[in-house]
Symmetry: C2
């Protein structure tokens, strides 16, 4: 009566290696070796074992293997972006890279709540995860998660204040540079900049990239300074008016987000400017819902978020493998050209 016990929730158990051994008429060790491709097993025996395993639908228990190996082949993925637009592609990229490395991903929604996050960290520790990826919406650097004992942690789309931690971020400055260089390359000379609140580091970095590129061409921003406002279309509409008032020969605008860019497009068009004929427009994010709804479709900067996730996963795998790294790695952005800047 093996499974007749009193535990109510005890599931009908999966076939074990002993079941296979019994059916094949061999020992459990032989089953293990056969199924794991170890040498020193006769082809006949191996075939017999494989057949028995197949017949029973046997699948080696990852739990038992974990207990033995001391590794769970699992990592925790703590997200703090309310599963927003930004961290999802990052998580996707990470999940893909990890599962390719035979690592499973435990999903934890931290909700920007340090208490909740800490709770998850404890849970993950109890489950003996091999490592942790922390994603976030990228404001300024965040305090590291605290662990009682050392599991590798990698930060993706956010940065730890501890410089010994590994963090992966998109290269916002390079993205800004990319946008402006594209505008300059297509003959624009009077480039305005409408973006989000200046307390976002990403905003400041994109601006720096843009002004740097302009400076190298001997230019500065149209209107002299970036226009900061909320991350909304409404702000884009307003900013277009402000910009045109300040700089009548405006022939390009680089925006800190696609949403803002769409508003700018509407504002410019309301003022009678043609896009891209009179004014070229570049956004940021490559949020296709916005870029495609924009008239005309919007040229934008793509942060390669899945790649950010992938690099985080690879960095974590390396750390698990004993090759830890530290410091912040920047993943380059890429320009996606659409109608709004076509010459």
């Amino acid at each position: 009566m093996p499974s007749g016990g009193g535990l109510p929730a005890r599931r009908k158990t999966a076939p074990t290696i002993s079941d296979v051994a019994a059916l094949a008429g061999v020992s459990t060790a032989t089953v293990s070796k056969s199924l794991n491709g170890r040498t020193g097993i006769s082809p006949a025996t191996r075939a017999k074992v494989v057949a028995a395993a197949e017949q029973l639908g046997f699948r080696s228990s990852a739990i038992a293997q974990s207990l033995l190996s001391g590794r769970s082949y699992t990592v925790g993925l703590i997200t703090n972006d309310s599963f927003g637009r930004f961290s999802i592609p990052v998580m996707l990229g990470a999940e893909d890279a990890l599962q390719a490395g035979q690592i499973a991903v435990l999903l934890c929604d931290g909700r920007d709540d340090p208490i909740r996050e800490q709770h998850y960290v404890r849970t993950l520790a109890a489950r003996r995860v091999d490592g942790i990826v922390v994603t976030g919406r990228r404001a300024d650097p965040r305090p590291p998660v605290t662990l009682d004992f050392p599991i590798p942690v990698v930060y993706a789309m956010c940065e730890s204040t501890d410089p010994r931690d590994a963090s992966i971020l998109p290269d916002d400055e390079q993205g800004g540079r990319l946008a402006v260089e594209h505008l300059l390359a297509t003959g624009r000379r009077s480039v305005g900049h409408v973006t989000g609140p200046s307390d976002f580091r990403a905003v400041r970095l994109r601006t720096a990239g843009a002004t740097g590129a302009l400076a190298r061409a001997g230019l500065e921003l149209a209107g002299g300074a970036p226009l900061h406002g909320p991350w909304s279309e409404e702000w884009g509409r307003q900013a277009a008016t402000i910009l045109l008032r300040a700089q009548d020969d405006l022939d390009a605008v680089f925006c800190g987000s696609d949403q803002i860019a769409r508003g700018v497009a509407e504002g410019l068009q309301a003022a009678g400017r043609k896009i891209p004929g009179d004014v070229a427009l570049v956004g940021f994010d490559n949020w296709t819902v916005m870029t495609d709804a924009c008239r005309p479709p919007l040229t934008t900067v793509d942060m390669n978020l899945p790649l950010v996730g992938k690099r985080a996963a690879e960095t974590l795998l390396a750390a698990i493998d004993g090759r830890a790294s530290s410091g912040t790695e920047l993943v380059p952005c890429r320009l996606v050209v659409r109608e709004s800047t076509r010459v």
Copy 2:
């Protein structure tokens, strides 16, 4: 020399129950009982054990416990919506309900690829998950995932073709009814309907709910039939023109999505109609990016997606607990009133 072995990736191991036992000067059994609140332990011993555990940062290995209990306290979450707008809130809701039940969630991105999904199912089986939640974007019913042996599966935001499976879906028909009843209650009589492609079941259900509510008021759709088109703002703009041409006294439009509704708003306004003064407008999805960018802000139907996820999780937990259910459960939608229908 316990951990001096040759395995290179073997991590510095976490403290075990034996470490605690040694430090406290008791047996491992006593540690286990003390830490798990079993009776028959003297307060003094318990205190000693707790102190030792604290000092070592001991955390009982969930893996060892799983091996013993035969339960992993883990479920698989397979998503097939490319992590889109719809399945994310569902997943969030499910994750929240599961972690509240002390169940961890393994994330699997199925990408609408049956091969990939099957691969994940095998992985999850090897990890001995207690159950599986499958999410999807809700087109027509899908074939069930195939398992070699019985683990409970619940479908969320998608439906299995096997009626013995449990599926949780939003109540699209009730959502459509809700929208139209609201329009009628605020005095509208000539209600148009602009929606997505008719091969979406959700589209047909929403339409049915809408026409049903109209019929009970002795009315039918303005223009006689729903206008079907792509899920885009552009389609909404076009449809507004078509609708006005067909029905000059139009005083309301119910849209199959917020994106379409926003386009309809623009189209109506371009034709000189005021919203909500001349025409009231209701969308579907409560996608705040759209509802708030819409001028005026859009009244819409919210599918309560986190609740769909939560119900899926609860249904799965019940099934794991031996109380399996089957058939499709519909989660009611809820109306979110904003300016576009204010009287």
